[in-house]
Amino acid sequence: MNVLRKQKIAFACLSGLGLLTVCVLIFIIGYILSQGLTMINIEFLTSKPRKMGAEGGIFPAIIGTLYLVITTMIIATPIGVGAAIYLNEYTSRGKITSVIRFATEALAGIPSIVFGLFGFAFFVILLEPVTGGWSILSAALTGVTMVLPTIVRTAEEALKAVPDSLREGSLALGTTKWQTIKGLILPTAMPGIITGIILSIGRVVGETAAFLLTLGGTLLIPQSLMDGSRTLSLHLYMVAMETGAMDVAFGTAAVLIILILIINLTASWFFRRLIKRFS
């Protein structure tokens, strides 16, 4: 068999596999949307659930998702970006840095249910007087431990991508290091940092296992951060498992897919802007 022929066969196989992947993806999303989209209307989005969620809307889950995402990100963003600034701007590639880096990478590989177990034991049980037990706060703190590695790493990459010639140019004008970071480095790296934040939001929105153990899962609308709640993912799981109301489950799934799609598109938009900035 000649080389050209081999290449042709390889190409055919690979493009076949590629096509298969796309087909599976389209089938899954198409199936869920076809089952779920008919459920979605204003009433479904804005009314309270009835019969444990088997009927009615998903309003509390939407509110719960929003509260949890916002709380998690408000805590995680400054810590994560701060750590990235410290790692990239204030340490040379020494011992501490590699230890911290190893820790963040290791953290990223841990299954989320393990974070859930930790969050349950630590935030829900041990710190109950502070967190209110099963609560948005407990879940958010658990979420923070999960998304921190992503935020630190993406922010660090974004900071690393800022050329040193810019740092030199700024310092040579008689600015301090902090002025340089605040006025030039951070704004330049911002699209990349925001990409990490958006990816993290997606992770929180999509997470189920960790919040099953920390968020409680009540259908009431939370009045404070110390109240329990449920997210859309959690609601989907509970409705499907506890009530078997597949129409509501698919409706929730459709809302989730649309939400994740929006989040990912925004992330890639920011990513493209980052790339454009440096070329």
Partner: protein, 252 residues
Amino acid sequence: MSTPQIAAKNLDLFYGEFQALHDINLNISEKQITALIGPSGCGKSTFLRTLNRMNDLVKGVSIKGEIQIGGENIYDKSVNVVELRKKVGMVFQKPNPFPMSIYDNIAYGPRAHGIKKKAQLNEIVERSLKQAALWNEVKDRLHSSALGLSGGQQQRLCIARVLAVEPEIVLMDEPTSALDPLATLKVEELVNELKQQYTIVIVTHNMQQAARISDITSFFLNGKIVETDITSKVFTNPSNKQTEDYITGKFG
């Protein structure tokens, strides 16, 4: 000649174990253009970067000897490096405009130094761009990205950015090496203009350039200064054999 504005005295510089500068002694006078020439790797950039202490950013650098600017040793413990760099501006080899608008590039330094009033910033931006002979080309697009400018325009923008901070001394490290001949000519004209107001130290690998624009030329070789003299003398009647070999193109 008046008392020098910059005086390097018995300056040694080490990158870790490696000695990059050996016993440098050089006097630089006010409102003159001093060119540093020499083959690549001979320590021109290293010396230039000692004058605004940019070498402080490089790990493992140590320095012996003194550099006096206006009579004060800038390596003295009491010296505020940030203040020093306001006084001693620097233009780099590769244009390094910030990824922001033309206006914000120029206003960056003044803003960092506490100037907030819009009218005052406007005035600084206009004055600096005019000084850098860039105003006419960009006055209608001050708020578009500086990255959209041509290489030569970017370099003049970087010069304007330095001038906006009102330094006394401007250091230039091969400012035209990344530019085409026409853009190079423009920058050279500009440098010649600037000497009315500023003391300029320029590193160049281009001997014609040194001959064209500088008053004093200092020839570096292997981390040492071989010869410093009035430019016309260095290029027509050098007192050292090595200088002669270099300017006649025997090496480098």
